[in-house]
Amino acid sequence: MAILVDNETRLVVQGITGREGKFHTGRMLESGTNVVAGVTPGKGGQEYEGIPIFNTMEEAVKETGANASVIFVPAALCADAIFEALDFDISTVCCITEGVPVHDMMKVTNHMRIKDATLIGPNCPGVLSPGKANVSIMPDSIFTPGNVGVVSRSGTLTYQIVNELTQRGLGQTTAVGIGGDPIIGTDFIEILKQFEEDPETECAVMLGEIGGNAEQNAAEYVQSEMTKPVVAYIAGFTAPEGKTMGHAGAIVSGGESTAEAKSEALRRAGIRAATNPSEVAELVAEALNESS
């Protein structure tokens, strides 16, 4: 088992003929992902790495039965690409692109309330279920199948921690990069909920950062609803107020959005909150030992 993407995933790459689209399609194929289609308006009828390219999502879904998509189109076109994916009943949409306008994302996320689908991102590394499907730009090589679910607002920090988990022999069910923007399709809570429901996941790792209060909301959820242990780490203790730290959403703008406040809230909710990234794997091992 895994969440969001697995052996049943039939992936369409939106923006498959761009530089990023091509590069990562190659890598997703190498990871054994079932990439069934690409979409680039005007390039319908062509192929890339043997994958048929379509002009529209409608055709792609109709011809290939695609059920998941990953988006590499330019930021200005992402909202349109997401709406298109949602309209043809793609159930998991990962938008990798960075720099999508916030107002576009407010429209998209509010529209999603009438859709039975999950949007991951934008500005995210995507979703990877080791040995099953790689719908992401994450390096497959550092992953290994196992029973730890990882959900994170950042990319390389996730690699860092997954790598340490793997080196310690702690494999993963699925790693989900939910993205570093202020408005994202899916917050921590929704993913933690799926990990809670996934029979194979035995421990969840949550990697947060400064900005907003998604971690606090997740803490409340964990405390009241989750039975599985959660290990967390929040980045950005040294971030000054009012400065955007790389991610558009990583900005301290009030007491609640600091790393201290978040770590504090997590601990109050009974979550093991690491003080530095290298503690995470250790705390996971500890949690798994205790619960087994």
């Binding site: 550092i142 990319g155 950062e209 530095n276």
Partner: protein, 383 residues
């Protein structure tokens, strides 16, 4: 991107919001001329991209043109929280009956625009929220429907407004919402929004932040970016496509990925060091970008050591090592540089570095070790 008060007001006026008459002055003489033109009481206000100018003495209300000149002389050149005042806004006076607060922000949890209004204006809204929550009206707007007439009534009735003031605030809110969406703003704030004694409703201040990701469709706003006011290092990083934030310490920090760099800062602080900056070079191992980033980080004379933290994911460790070496060859940096390479092909990368490194480059396997080494080197450098 933050706008100056005078730019924000210009934007709000385009959407039908009333402000006082004002002129931007860059010299005391210009300020005097403006004051003469308006006649009577004027306010001379420092134009800086930071809050708290009032407390810092950056706003003076005067009666005579000569006093306006003197006020401008005092304010121009002032340093407010590290921002040099290079312009003042000279604004006509008004007979103010009451001060209110009105803002629209992007609420991250609800994923909707959030309107905040209070009849307690001119003060910090967070304080109002804490001390007098009943004075605060909050309205979430569905971005697919836009601001609806009943929501405007929720606000005016909710705040107990009446007559002309209720009408004026309602109209201002509708215009402000249009300004917010049409400009792709992440914040529009009018504090104070005032009612004058003759029943008009005016924006006495304006704080506007436009979503950087949307500037491609707002060329007119993008052009307002004030290159001169920006920190020179941050401006150079912006032009090089790097994510860079200047800090106060002496350990320069670079890495790939915002989350990883943020946590590198934290680990350095844990090790007793003080980060000099945040610098995310992004993915890839482009030697040119790395060398530009190193130059920017070390151009800060406070920096005593540099920590370069790379997790090889897509980019393999050996490629990163080669890029780094090539970057180091181009630069003339003599400061100690600690390199930590991990992830895909990390060992090969470290091998390459150990064979070819200049003397001032140290390699470490883990973040913690690397941070400790960088902090130690910075301490030594303080000599």
């Amino acid at each position: 991107m933050d706008l100056y008060e005078y730019q924000g007001k210009e934007l709000l006026r385009q959407f039908g919001i009333e402000t006082l008459e004002g002129t931007v002055a860059e010299s005391p003489e210009e300020a005097k001329k403006a004051a003469e033109q308006f006649g009577g009481t004027v306010a001379v206000k420092a134009q800086v991209l930071t809050g708290g100018r009032g407390k810092a003495g950056g706003i003076k209300v005067v009666q005579e043109p000569a006093d306006a000149e003197e006020a401008a002389r005092q304010i121009l050149g002032m340093d407010i929280k590290g921002h040099e005042v290079r312009q003042v806004l000279v604004e006509a006076g008004a007979a103010i009956a009451s001060e209110m607060y009105l803002s629209i922000t992007v609420d991250r949890a609800e994923k909707k625009p959030l309107i905040l209004f209070s009849t307690e204006g001119g003060v910090d809204i967070e304080e109002v929220a804490e001390n007098k929550p009943e004075a605060l009206v909050k309205i979430y707007v569905d971005p697919l429907l836009g601001l609806l007439p009943y929501e405007v009534r929720e606000l005016t009735f909710g705040a107990g407004l009446e007559g002309d003031v209720a009408k004026g605030v309602g109209k201002t809110l509708q215009n402000l919402y249009t300004a917010f969406t049409e400009s792709d703003a992440s914040l529009v704030e009018i504090n104070p929004l005032v009612a004058t004694e003759d029943g008009r409703v005016l924006a006495l201040d304006a704080k506007v932040t436009v979503d950087n990701s949307s500037l491609f469709r707002h060329q007119n706003i993008a052009e307002l970016h004030d290159v001169e006011a920006a920190d020179p290092e941050e401006q150079r990083a912006l032009e090089a496509g790097l994510q860079y934030v200047k800090l106060d310490g002496d350990v320069g920090i670079l890495g790939n990925g915002a989350g990883l760099v943020m946590s590198t800062l934290d680990v350095v602080a844990n090790a007793g060091g003080e980060p000099a900056n945040f610098c995310d070079v992004g993915g890839g191992a482009d030697a040119e970008k790395i060398s530009e980033a190193l130059d920017i980080v070390t151009s800060n004379k406070q920096v005593k050591s540099v920590l370069f933290n790379i997790f090889g994911g897509i980019t393999r460790g050996d490629e990163v090592a080669r890029g780094l070496l090539s970057a180091l060859e181009r630069s003339e940096i003599t400061l100690p540089i600690v390199v930590r390479l991990d992830g895909t092909n990390a060992e090969e990368g470290r091998q390459i570095l150990s064979e070819n490194t200049p003397e001032n480059v140290y390699t470490e396997e883990t973040m913690l070790e690397a941070a400790e080494r960088a902090v130690e080197l910075a301490h030594n450098g303080r000599g």
